[in-house]
Point group: D2
Chain length 263, copies 4
């Protein structure tokens, strides 16, 4: 009976459209699924948010929404730049589309040792992959967001003691010609900050991070420039989009800086 219904149920999406307007992107978003991510220690479990779109020609009334979910369900490969390239190729074939876009973001974890006591703890980051196919060209962006400390050089310079500092979020998105691990990309961000973060610190560690940040005072401008210097020197990086947001401890708004560059 199910088959009978299926053959007789009209397929409205496949009917022609007379408005002559092509659609750049149509698909699904806000999908939450369990996945694994490719870390240097192998696949790491996480929970991802996904958006998947294809272009739709002017002549076609609708896309087939359930196929996106099908493709996603059947994927078993850990999330990585190469997996994204494979996924978008499969999507275009399955949806019979010219152009397409996929975005997958999720938390990512790295076990770190605290700087003095060597205490181990797990730090959380956000990662995000974007794959786009436009006019036959496919590109993939690999992005990480790292929470760090920033300490203001102006505040340090003009004050007799202390210096305002705060949590900042710095982000590196890049197109790569060769593999860069997520851990390596996170290190570029962390080493550009006044100080990196750990989840667990003993007092000896707290002394270290306080003094280290004070010795490495940086404006929001310095955070993005120091990242840019590292990315400029890395031959694997074809293009990058980087930013830093300081959740200012002396204001109720953020300081922000952004650099984009295609080499």
């Amino acid at each position: 009976m199910t088959t009978e219904i299926l053959t007789t149920l009209p397929d409205v999406q496949s009917s022609p459209d007379t408005r002559c307007i092509a659609i750049d992107r149509v698909g699904v978003r806000g999908i939450t699924i369990p996945i694994t991510v490719q870390s240097i220690n192998g696949p790491q479990p996480s929970v991802a948010t996904v958006a998947m779109y294809v272009s739709l020609p002017a002549t076609q009334k609708g896309t087939h929404m359930s196929r996106f979910v099908t493709l996603l369900s059947e994927n078993l490969e850990p999330l990585s730049a190469s997996m994204m390239k494979s996924l978008i190729t499969q999507m275009l074939a399955l949806l019979d589309a010219q152009d397409g876009y996929i975005e997958i973001s999720c938390p990512f974890f790295v076990t770190k040792s605290s700087p003095v006591s060597g205490l181990k703890s797990v730090m959380n980051y956000e990662i995000r992959y974007e794959a786009e196919c436009k006019n036959g060209v496919t590109s993939v962006k690999q992005e990480i967001s790292a929470p760090v400390t920033s300490l203001c050089p102006c505040s340090k310079k003009i004050s007799q003691y202390g210096a305002h500092n705060q949590r900042s979020k710095i982000r590196i998105s890049c197109e790569l010609s060769a593999e860069m691990s997520l851990e390596e990309q996170i290190r570029i961000a962390e080493t550009s900050a006044s100080c990196e973060l750990w989840s667990r610190l003993k007092r000896s560690d707290e002394k270290y991070v306080t003094e280290y940040a004070y010795e490495h005072a940086k404006f929001v401008e310095d955070l993005v420039r120091d990242m840019a210097s590292q990315l400029n020197a890395d031959d694997r990086v074809l293009a990058y989009w980087i930013d830093a947001e300081n959740f200012e401890s002396i204001h109720n708004h953020s300081a922000y800086a952004f650099i984009e560059r295609r080499k």
Copy 2:
């Protein structure tokens, strides 16, 4: 014709219910409306988010959702503790209900002068009113949230120079026996912090706030205790719920403290 339809359209909500289960709260939430708030300088325009609920007896199938919106539309009084008391009384009458609950929150603004240069700027806070009527007793809570700076006493003590500091959010909700202005309530929060915030600071001000915070190092525990001391000493305060959240600059999580007290 409209009238005719109205008289003949069945009123499903008013029909009896046979499951014998009373509902504690039913109504609307997530309503966004323009309002005014009672400030010390008169009514101040803002944009509020509103939730309004009533109790529903076991015998009644549904409440009348549109009446909440009607009541809200017709209210012209600036938001204040006394307006909330009046609004919940009207709501219970209009909905023919025993118990009820109203929550209205919105941004609130105070013009402040920076500490050294005297530069004027507008600071933004969040306020929230809750009115509840239960078993014939009506109570109103007046709440403010203030962003401030906190500076860690431990970090200061153990480090040769510097001390980690960060933006914190501190909140005071209280039941009052006599009027307390929102501005006064905000001052209790701000004076309990390592330093208060301004939207605009010249370098002379930045020097001041940096050194002031360093001289007033406080744990998250100190923030709530210093607020509690002030509220304990204020006879207008019948009960309070206060908390502080430090968005730690050396961690990717918050430190948090909470005190509640009914005198």
Copy 3:
């Protein structure tokens, strides 16, 4: 050298406090960690957000924040009601505290078969555990949130064709005297709705869910009452807090209902 520093670094948190104000809850919040959750098919990987607080006596200046993270890092047991009970006991011992509170929330996944075509897909839910110890009594709440369809009986009754429907979010938090699986708790929510949701539907399934929802029109009041009926009849349930929020398709705000009951 590290040890030397550690022994000489002053421990500010352990110093006495002279304000004579006890703190109800102090600790950490906003911690993001990888965990596993106890599902009927064994431990399921997920990513959790955690808050952990203890009470602090009036005489003590500060709690030991890093110990919360230590405890969390060392826990290997899958998230469940019994794990929460064990975790809060360990926390109170480690922090030497009288009262405490732990909250852990995360996405949870169930593989479901679509109603007609039998297509398998993974549905996502939100779960949350709360453990509280107060005055020597420990209680644990197990909570699930399920997205469902609700269809308005009034709209159906008064209209010649169609009926407005929308996505709703329904939530069941309960204290249990015996184990109830998260899957079972989710079923109570889903079977109380106009229709449950699936991630992937063929056209035959879409026809089914459309007609099923139309045949099971329910107000937001009905959603909570139908859940309450099931929970009232279940002897394992000692107390419950349930609500439903309809993201109305004909308004830009929600309809909402809430029932709480201790048997």
Copy 4:
């Protein structure tokens, strides 16, 4: 004394930078301020979120963050496309910058009469202005987001009765050669939907919107195409970016479509 301090305090931001890296955007974000918006009935009070950035040459160490807030504080003109053009010109002059970007978003309100009973109520929308100056060319985008109802044509066609429908959010951002009121832009969005929304509906109105949506079934693709048709025919529109997101009532994810066009 203040003046003395000011003249002697070092100006770190104005010192030269040796890394030779220009910054595309640097400034402030997350500023919350009270503003007025230009509506067809004159200035309307609202609360805005603001971001303001300028480009920074490779030779300059830092921008002057407080000047952004100064500029914003001194602006008294109601928010509109022409105000944005004036504001970005002032910002570039004040910050001595080549390129710049400003984004201001806020809630916006329109009083509407319900379709049958004529009941008045206030509907809330989101608006957003973007001004960008790049390589000497300044452009302004005017954007509105409107919540609407969408009803699925496939579900309607294949089902014996009913059709799944849901709240959708549709967005129109456009560059204009001549003024278009926010209200007019909102009407383009609302008239492209299965049905528009009102805050307050009597039963006669609810019957109307239920049947109207059923008679105007539209896919997410239809929502963007019907907006595109209207914008294509409007000579004031130089370019547009439009999208629609359906918060599917039969799924826990959204359907989404996007069209961009420069004429």
